[in-house]
Structure formats: C-alpha cells, structure tokens
Symmetry: C2
Subunit: 458 residues, 2 copies
Amino acid sequence: MNNVKAAVCFSCGAEYEAGNDTYACKKCGGVLEIVYDYDYIKTRVDPEKISARGEFSLWRYLEFLPLEEGSALGPLRVGWSPLYRTEKLGEALGLSNLYIKDDGLNPTSSLKDRASAVAVVRAARAGKDTVACSSTGNAASSLAGAAAAMGLKSFIFVPERAPQGKVTQLLIFGATVISVRGNYEDTFRLSAEAIEKYGWYNRNAAINPYLSEGKKTVSFEIAEQLGSLLRKAGAARGGSGAVPAKAFAAPDYVAVSVGDGCTIAGVWKGFKDLYAAGFIDKLPRLISVQASGCCPINRAFEANGPIERMEENTLADSIAVGVPRNGGKALAALRESGGLAVNVSDDEILAAMRLLGKTAGIFGEPAGVTGTAGLKKAVERKLIPSGAVVVSVVTGNGLKDVASAQRAAGIGALDASSGGSGGGAPGAAGGGGPAALLRIAPEMKLLEKEFARRGIRV
Amino acid sequence: MNNVKAAVCFSCGAEYEAGNDTYACKKCGGVLEIVYDYDYIKTRVDPEKISARGEFSLWRYLEFLPLEEGSALGPLRVGWSPLYRTEKLGEALGLSNLYIKDDGLNPTSSLKDRASAVAVVRAARAGKDTVACSSTGNAASSLAGAAAAMGLKSFIFVPERAPQGKVTQLLIFGATVISVRGNYEDTFRLSAEAIEKYGWYNRNAAINPYLSEGKKTVSFEIAEQLGSLLRKAGAARGGSGAVPAKAFAAPDYVAVSVGDGCTIAGVWKGFKDLYAAGFIDKLPRLISVQASGCCPINRAFEANGPIERMEENTLADSIAVGVPRNGGKALAALRESGGLAVNVSDDEILAAMRLLGKTAGIFGEPAGVTGTAGLKKAVERKLIPSGAVVVSVVTGNGLKDVASAQRAAGIGALDASSGGSGGGAPGAAGGGGPAALLRIAPEMKLLEKEFARRGIRV
C-alpha cells in the first residue's frame, strides 16, 4: 500500500506497519489510526479526476483507502448514497442550506456497510475465508451481507437478548449466529477468544482500525456531492463568482449521531483526508448528537474530562453504547473541529423521525435520525447560524426498527382516540403538522363527516 | 409533450390525448397505454449521449417519460439501483451469466418508487396538491414518500386488515390513512368515490396509465448497466469482437414476479421503447413468475384463455392479486416476448430468499425474490439454456416483511432443535448450504463442542 505510511496508536503514539493482523496497539491496547502519505496520493488523483469516474460506490475513492493494490473488491454497491438538499425540512428547522445524506439506502440499509465493505476486502486479500464480529445490530448485518457477497463465511456473536428480527437477517445472509447466554461483555469476550483460536478475520469495531477508514467515505461523498450541487446552483444563478472553484466542497457543519464513536471519528477522518490532499479548503465543524439517556462522549466533551460509563437508556439501540470503545477518537474529532455536543430525548428522536418523513420523504431508524434531532435543538439554541451550510447524516433505514416507528407515529394513541376525541395528530409535537389514521366504514358520507370533524383539509 | 403521441386503449384501441385526467378508457373502461413518437425521440438522444449523463436516477431517461417539459422533478433518488453480476448464485442455479437487479434499494425500498415518482411529478404539474391511492403495500408507501418529498398531501385508503407495520410507514411520511372497515373491494370503491369528489390526483395502478411508464425505467437501467458490464468484460478479455457495439444491451431473459401485471408490463414497455428507438438490437424473453397459490395470469397464459379470478393463497403479499387489473397488458407482454410462465410454491419462495442472501448478500421480500425462485425452476426444467444472459429483478427489500424472513430462516424450527437434535440447517432445503443459530453459554469449550457436534467447519 504505497498510499499508507503506518498504523499509529491513538493513545500512546506507537507505530506499526499497517498489515493484516494489525488490530489494537500491542503496547497499550489503544485504538490504532491509519496514516496516509498525502504527497503520494496527490500524485495519483485530484478532485476533477475523481469526479470524472464512472464508479459510483465507495470504491470511487480507492486512493484514499487502506487496500493492497489489486485487491478483489466486494461486489455490493456500498456508498454513493444520495445527498438531498431538503428545503422544507430546512424551513422547519430554521436552516436555509440544509442537506441530508441518506445512508439508509446502502445494501443492508445502514452506514455500517461502508466499514464491512473494507473489512471483507482486507480479509479476502489476507487469505482468510472467515470473518467474525460480536454485535446485535447494523455492524453484524452489514458484515454478514458483505461476507456472503464476497464468498466468505461469517460467524456472528450476539447476546441472547438480540431481537429476532435482526438475527433473522443474519441467518438469511448465511451467517453462523452464536447466541450467547450472557450479556454483551460475555458475548464480546467469547467472540475474541474464538477469533483468536480459529484465526478468523476480526471485524470488531473496538479493535479493527480499518473500519473507520471505510466509514470516512461518507465524508468524501458529502464533499463531492455538495460541490456538485453548489456548482449547479451557481451555474443556475449565472454568477460565476458563486461557483465553487473545486469539485469538492466542505459544509460548515456536519451533524451525526454518536454511540461507540467510530462513525463520527470516521466522518472526521474523511474530511481531514480531503483537506490534507487539497481537495477542500476548510474543515467542517462536527455536531455530536447523543441520546440524553446514554451520552458518555458528549458528557466528557462538555466536562472536558474522561469518558465514564453510563447506563444505556434510549430506544435508539444503534447508539446505546455505555462504554464507547472509540470514545477517544470521537472526542478528539469533536475538539479538533471546534464542534458541538447536543443531547436529545427519545421523544425528540421520535419527533425527528416524523419530521424527516413528512417534510423530506426520508424514513430513518431512531439512531439514524438522532443527528437531525440534535440539529433542530442546536438551531433552537442559536448554536448554529441559520444560513450555515449543514449536512445531517441519516445512518440507518427506518425499516430496521418498525416498533419504534410505530411509537413515533403514535399508533397506540390513535387507537384510543379514534373513537371520537378528535385531533389525531401524532406528528404535531414533532412539527411538520398532523398525520392521521381514520377508521371508518366504507361510506362516502362517513368519510366527509370524519374529515369535517377532524378539520382535515382535502 | 413532443415525445408522446397519444394514450391508446389497450382493449378497444380508442385514442386520447395524453393529459392530466387521462385515466381509463372512457368507452370501454380498458387500461390505456402511452404511445411515443420514437422518430422525435431519436432526434433528441442516443445511447452514448444518455450514457454520458451525470444524472443517476430514473430522470436520466427523461426523453422516454410522459412528463411535460419543464416539470419540477421529484427530489428523491429513485432508480439507478445496482445490477450485479452474481456468479455464485448463477452457479447454484446452473446459469453462467446471471445478473440481479436489486430494486429494494430505492427510497422506500421497492420498485414501486419508480411509478410513484412519475405520478407525483404529473400531479404537481397538473396543479394538484393532493395524491391518493388504495393499497396496503409498496404502492402506498412509495406514494406517501414521494408526495412528502414533493410537498404534496397524500390520502391512502387501506383495508382494515392492513399490517400495522405498513400503516406506520405511511404515517411517518405524513399521509392521511383511511382504514376502511371492509375488504379490498370496499376500500378501492371508497377511494374512487373520494378521488372523484375531491379532485385528487389518482395513483391507482388499475387506472393510471403513467405508472407503468415509471416502472419501465427498470429496463432502461438493466440495458444500460448490462451494456456497460459487457463492455468492461469484453475490454478485460482484450477481444474487441466481444465488446458490444452499443452502450445498451438486452439480456436474453428477464425474470420478474407478477401480481397485478403492471410491473411486467412496464418491464416489457421499457425494452420495447429501447428497441423502437434503436438503443438495443433485440428484445428479451420474459419469465413471468407467480405464486402457485395465486397465478391467474400464468394460468391464462398456459391455457391461452381469459384471466379468471383466483384465491390469494401465498405469503408473497405484494403479488397476491386474485383479480389482476393489468392482466391483459401482462399477457400481451408475455406472448409478444415469446415468454415463459412459471409458478412457485411458498416454500420455493422462502428458499430463494435464503439463496439470494447466502450467495449474493441480497435480502429480498417474498414477492421480491419470486422471480429468482421461478428462474431456478425454469433452469431445472431446462426451459432456459445455461449460457443465456439472464436478469432477475428483486422488486422489494426483505426488511419490508421480517415475519416471512423469519419463516425463511427457519427460526422456529431451530428453537426446537437447538436442544440437541443437531443439524440446524434451515438453508439446506433452498440450496447454498446451512445457516445456523447456536445457543450456548459463554464458554469456549462449549463452543468447540457445539461446532464439532454440528459439523460446522471453522
């Protein structure tokens, strides 16, 4: 890998060759970071060259990825998810330049596909025929799907409380699922032992430094797609002065939900890569959004202190991480970027689900929309100027967690109210106006009556 | 619309101007078909011109769509779903040139997004602020999502038995959902009355001739993506003789699941458009796959007779249509293409879910994988030569119906067998080898024992 210099420990600075068995720091156990040779990268690519490529997936950015030359790439189309300019959502939030990156449209419906795509390519290149991780969620399904497409076996360790729906997806992808009678710590420990014993490729985000390298591609796409949209808008206005000089452009702010810390660290790494290679002229400020019931990273950021374990009290299961393994990297990203930390309640998360659905036609899972929920709060508190160019990343598809969507839609409440209490506006609290579920017999006059009674404009 | 000549009744041949209120035939009630001026279209575009475009969505093919010039296009990224060359799945099926088009990666996770995208653009252009349809499934969610993104209101009529999960998605998109105490016929009738009374835009597939025009874009993409893959493969082999002359290429066969008939009719229309405009040199043969428990179109095709109502006995809910409203168009497509009809059992559908997951990393809903299930059967019956270039369209995402995925994964059976009966291979029946769910205490020696007992290679 001519583009990679080394893997450096984020905690103690120890340096390693970026190889196949390079996981955590052998000295202090810290998380490693992949360090690139940007001078070399600049000799190979520039913004216009990448923009002209016909490859529309994360492999578009190969020169920035830690893959041996000639590696067989995974066949699934991971990445190149859409970046939408969302004017109505922006109006609702008080932002005149809001964009949503919908990463729920990846192959297994979450941003984690980016990390697993890199993992399986490295695993196959290293001659491994099996990959493994411990997870109940999006990391597991993304790994199982990517492994199946790549022709690798996968072993996934889940705590016994893992939801059957999520286990189902793993089995469909042909994974061997080990349901461990114990908690997540027991599960993680058994997976580590088995990976060690059998020599499988390790895709535990706590350990594998290549995962955030996959995740960083979301920032590459944000910058390239934003640059393209700004150029088009500039061209439409006719003023050449407003057209960005480069094909890539950094937003002013990026809002992202935070659990383990790996994703926000990846987002930051992506923008830093682009900046170091001269693709963008500034860096964005990060907005780290956590659930109030589980916000160890944000708490440490606000207190300027160490990360301390928290309970995991939130329905946003994908970010319910009481002991974040990539917390150090996340904190550093927040600080370096001059970022903000915002915590939101579960009700604010559910309201953001409705708001994204109603104003933008985007259906995100709770953790997927948490970034947007935090953005709303940040604007309300005047932490962000209304004219800022802001990108909010939706990290997972709402179909992943229909039970929470039912809570968001307030179906239970509507069941009770449909008898005659009127209103039926579960969306009202979250803004964006009412949604409604009417139950009636098939007669037009009853429908008219019901519309009138509820004040529904037709 | 300079590219459109007329809307012609598919049953009686009556001709209408293709306007905003052009729905069913005013003389015989038949379904209309949009007829294009291919000579005009040829003056505007050619294959290379389209291939050079930077727009990666169904709007890439604007010259072939029935949209007034200057219409505001929907903002969601509908279409340009991936076409995968799936070698391992091909091996499992006995096909050396198999491709999967994964349309489950659309914004609301099904192919129906293509139809709704066209519907909301036409609605907005006609000055309507409200769209409506009756449906319990993918048509409804796609319309609600597209309307929300477009800034239109949506009214969706569902029979009271509609699954809560699907109703939830509609509410998240801000639709007003009318749950009708009655069956589907009652629901449809009430929706028709309300649409008439309130002047809403009508997105009922039984009536709106523009929907299959949206769906046909899946064929445009298949031809363009296949052409690109064949060119790359030819270039890799170095033999210029093997490289297709055109940027677009038709496969030999396209397999698609069939319910109402609108989708397969749209697929056929797409290829016919390309052929008429000189983009492809031949037409594919269609493989219509229905569930054995509900196959009125295939039954009529085999018997060369009229379509007769059938019960709706299949778990593939999206194609459980006993009285197909676009059956005539579907039959004509099958006949014109020299196509095949194949029926599959629910067990074969579940097996196809496992096979696609395990060999290709693709997770489809039951109706979504029914085309692939039928393809398997067609190859087994030697109805298709093993070297044929075949595309199978996956029409919807597996996350849409987790309960069926659980049946496919055989989780219930595994629950019973995990005590000690061994095996645990729910995937065995469907080919592609075993998937397994192991339940154990967190001890390495128990894990080793379990692997040995089950014969799991690690």
